[in-house]
Symmetry: C2
Subunit: 330 residues, 2 copies
């Protein structure tokens, strides 16, 4: 069987028609590290870019064990019932280790993973956080162009992935457990401060009372934080993904956030800043590419790196020599 | 009063004599973002580089509330009693917010902060994690050149700072609390996997029994991790910084780690890799510097960034145009 290679126009046309097979293939293209694929992917993104930006991009984070997959399954099927088209992506820079759990994710999202209006894509594997971030951001655009109007972006990895996801979403939701005391210590202050909405999950059965107590503790803790620039006060809600309770209220709160942010112009400001951030990251990528693929650098770098490793030359001096030579020769 | 500006040779001579005043001034120089200071700092690092590398560099992390400052005070004074010279640095990329806690750190390290053989330096304020990392790494070299033979590097910020500290130390220690259950969820798996030694702090009074139970839980958890390349099995110890208990055992374990790593060659390999990492980070800095300080880029960047923010041009396309033009003109 011959694997027919589509042109970027053919990919774009398929995506805009909502063809799921082509969407999947195009995300695979985005995730490829081959030079030829990268060029094709760049063209594809240019084609579909005018058809993106309409979705509500929602980031979801929380410590392992908080029930992120079950929550996304529950929240996603609520949104599907409301007539939305829902796509789920994940940022997981440590995915080489936790590959198993990603396959697990799809099986744990049983309600949405086979729904015709939903699309669940495992995290791109391997590579640095920067690479994973770029791939996820581009996949998000492809899903938007394919007509998905709610994007759920899950963080799976260590600390930095929350920051990466925060940099690509409109609203950032922190899932919490009903026993607040010790957990409050475990959640890094920086993560709490990034959240637009806190949801105490597993507020069911015997845990309902505990969840109410936790809600009081977190509401109290949030009061200690400086006011946000937009004036939005992150609400603390309780829900049960298992019993499908509190999910509607949670979505209403997200809609209230959207309305308030849009009215004040913060929505567009944030997206503009995110686009500019992306431009700067791309500049860094391109500078690296031009530098490390230069023939002189290719020849000299390994020897210099070895000398640096042996302590024969300082790392800064080595870097300066190499960069200086490259700039002069350009 | 005229502020006399020292030459890089004068700074270096003062540091090598162990002059604390000049050490402090030189770290302030390192932390400066002024171009002229950056050049002087670069020269200074070149001068002192041959006199660095002898110290045992120990990273210390743990969630807020685990008692890092008290532990460092206790561990530091034990090391001082053993005749060591101890310097304490911190990596805190969020320090613009938590400035108060840094001043607090010094007062909480009462035993060591006024000791003639100890040096406690608050984290450099402001700037990106990259900037803070560079400044801390260079400060570490200055302290080593000044004769400090044990460096304690504390992580204070959000997730990423652990990764930054791990990239500049010989041994990485994770402090834990005696109630293991919930905490085990709160600690990101990636952090546990980076630790060379786990220490359950606050193992005193009524908590002693709990600490023993926690030790069993963590030892069990560690068994699930893949074996490290060096074959070292991170031990789980208990200690009380408050009652100065278990601190000697902890240091002996760090020494055992050092001996084993040095014998197998892993010690030097890790340091070589860290130096090479540093070289690559410096290359990125220099590429950015050359690019963003180019006159054409300075003129064109703001307008392009504005267009990207408004969605008139894609972020990738804008980046490519700008970088392409810069490379051609060079």
């Amino acid at each position: 069987m011959i694997r027919k290679r589509l042109s970027s126009e053919e990919y774009a046309a398929g995506i805009l028609k909502g063809d799921r097979m082509i969407l999947s293939k195009s995300i695979t293209l985005i995730e490829s590290n081959l030079d030829s694929d990268r060029n094709l992917a760049g063209e594809l993104i240019s084609h579909i870019l005018p058809h993106t930006g309409q979705a509500y991009r929602i980031g979801i984070t929380g410590i392992p064990g908080v029930g992120k997959s079950t929550f996304i399954d529950s929240f996603g099927s609520y949104l599907l019932d409301q007539g939305h088209k829902v796509a789920v992506l994940a940022v997981d820079p440590s995915s080489s280790i936790s590959k198993g759990s990603i396959l697990g994710d799809k099986t744990r999202m049983q309600r949405i993973s086979h729904h015709p209006q939903a699309y669940v894509r495992p995290s791109p594997t391997g590579g640095s956080l920067g690479g994973v971030t770029r791939k996820t951001r581009e996949s998000l655009l492809l899903c938007e162009a394919a007509g998905f109007d709610i994007m759920l972006i899950e963080t799976v990895g260590v600390g930095q992935s929350e920051i990466a996801v925060h940099g690509m979403v409109d609203a950032f939701m922190l899932l919490l457990l009903p026993h607040a005391g010790d957990e409050l210590q475990g959640i890094k202050k920086g993560i709490m401060e990034m959240a637009d909405l806190l949801a105490i999950n597993k507020a069911d059965g015997a845990m309902q009372q505990k969840a109410q107590a936790a809600k009081a503790v977190y509401s109290q803790a949030l009061r200690l934080f400086p006011k946000t620039a937009s004036g939005w006060k992150p609400p603390v809600l309780t829900c049960s993904a298992l019993e499908q309770k509190g999910i509607g209220e949670l979505y209403e709160s997200l809609l209230a956030f959207q309305q308030k942010q849009q009215a004040a112009g913060h929505w567009q400001e944030k997206r503009a800043a995110q686009q500019q951030q992306w431009m700067q990251e791309r500049i860094t990528d391109l500078l690296h590419q031009a530098f490390y693929e230069n023939e002189q650098v290719k020849v000299r770098f390994p020897a210099l790196a070895e000398q640096v490793g042996k302590g024969e030359i300082g790392p800064m001096q080595a870097a300066e020599t190499l960069v200086q030579k490259w700039i002069e020769k350009k």
